[in-house]
Amino acid sequence: MKQFFSFVTKEFLQVFRDRKTLLMLFGVPIVQIVLFGFALSNEIKDSNIVIVDNAKDLASQQIINKIASTDYFKIKKMLPNSSQIDAAFKSGDIKLAIVFPENFYTDLLHTNKAQIQVIADASDPNTATTLTSYINIIIADYQAQLNKDLNIPPEQINLDVRMLYNPDLKGAPNFVPGVIAMVLLLVCVMMTSISIVREKELGTMEVLLVSPFKPILVIFAKAVPYLVLSLINLTVIIILSVLALNLPIKGSILLLYAVSTLFILCCLSLGLLVSTAADTQQSAMTLSLVGMFLPTLMLSGYIFPIENMPWVLRMLSNIVPAKWFYIIIKSIMLKGLGFSYIWKETLILFGMTVFFLTLSLRNFKTRLE
């Protein structure tokens, strides 16, 4: 046991010696939390629009004022005619154009029917859909007001919308669990595999293997610092998200740490597996970046919704551990659910851990070729 601890101490010393890499270990999660928390959001506001007002009457003016008073739109320019819309879109920052026909208000009063043309720059399909629906709401609102002024009974169905878990539609609740999963994966898989392979490359692994110390303990001693680092990282992320992002943890913290530890162990065994497959640091890096990092980014569901993917990718996503961890973390942190809701996902993670660990221990060579 004493031998084991002195090995762990050696590993810690080696980890803390390389300042630039340490900076990355802790810099990446902090930068990501700040970016996701404060900079990145899918909320659409202040979109630049242009208006072609051929009517220039009371109704068009009222609608334009109504549009300008929302947070969603900023009227960039009034264009004299619709032939200039294309050029406005091409030069960049215009997202939407609204065209009022001539005699808008007179038509509305006399024939009870008038048209507004809304043209969206659909390069970005979601922004286009959302902006068009905002305009729809504003117009419907205006119409309801108009009918009320004209004493037409307002038979209508209203919507009472409640946004559960995230009333302000912030980006952070969706991203923070994803950042946790990604950072843990990065630290455990990439750093662990690199540090083991480095010993192989430098030849010090051979020295360790001929010592009376059990080979399996050499590997475990390597894993301990990264386990500790990951837990520290997890704590930093949680503290940051609670204090800076006001994202409270609704469920049990104990459960959160227990499941995270399971995920960390899963990633550590993956890192071990990578190290048995790679001979050089460069190939260990490539394997963990291309093989682990990208699939996690794409297929864990935190940036792109899995249910929209073709079925091949949906099937593939099932073998990505981070997907299950992401579901668990979301349930505990945001929904405040207990263990009875997540036992299935936890069991899957546990199964994966056992599988990776057995596989890598079987492939681990204690002898020289």
Binding site: L35, N126, E155, D160, L299
Partner: protein, 372 residues
Amino acid sequence: MRTLKFLLQKEFRQIFRNKNMLRMMFMVPIIQLIILPQAANYTIRNINIAVVDLDRSSYSEKFVNKVLSSGYFKLAEFTASYKEAYKLIENDKADIIIEIPHGFESKLNSEQSQTISLSVNAINGVKAAVGSGYLTNIIQDFNNQIRLNWVQPSNMNPMPTIDVVSSNWYNPTLSYYLFMVPGILVLLVTLVGGNMTALNIVQEKEIGTIEQINVTPIKKYQFILGKLIPFWVIGVIIFTIGLLIARVVYGIIPLGSIALLYLFLSVYLIAIVGFGLLISTYSETQQQAQSLTFFFIQIFNLMGGLFTPIDSMPGWAKVITDFIPVSYFIDVMRMIVIKGSHFNDVLMQIIVVLAMGIVLNVWAIINYRKTT
């Protein structure tokens, strides 16, 4: 000039000698360009709804049918109570609960106004906003319909109705591929250009061959140029392959001028290779170079405007994106490919990126020490 020619000869030979690296350099971007856009599909469809219909009248039925026939929603389950429906949200089986109150139809007739409650799982903000937006539009439509049914039919509209005719330009089918593929191509060119360059010089440091170059009369700028040009060429080749894939696999043909695209690419690659060179002058080992590039590239990725719109960032973040070359190229790529923008539309961006390229490369030349 002769010195530069020999240096280039050496670099190209070294690159083509390492068959493994070469394969990775070309295969990884190609495979990613084929797979990534499939995953990066933000089309919001198949939103699962749980319906709590406490009224069970012909109106509530009509309403539910209208929602389901819109094509955006899928019925998860009819449940007897809100509580049961909430369970479905907790299990991720449903995204939205529609609750129709008891006496919906009769009260609508007598009180002329009724409220339907929506509870939306808003953890994913976009999905929540777009989903409830769809529902709002459907209700608006439904409202107009019931009004028309109630007032006796006539040829004229019984009351003033404003018709909103919306059209989607440049991308009428709202295809997400058209939006994402050009952006992802930019990201891949950046990854290969920046990362490979950074690792390349550091490798010479690690192996020790850089010292041999340092003792020769090769000038600093010649050495940097010798590294810049090969990776610039590789970047252009990868970009070309990417454009072909976009055409063959996704049917995306740039609307604007191809020459303009390549002009911007040439300027952009100078900046991004310069960035890689700069990182390599600051690192001692490959692990450090990798860590540094990873640190910056993740910021580029997240803030470049590929995944979330730059427009919705706060002011200070927009200032940061002004210094990120990737954000200019993604923007220009989309403008030229999707909208067919002209030279004058992107002139500003060309000038800015050119300035960045000059600054980064000069900085790298200054920071590269021939002595250790």
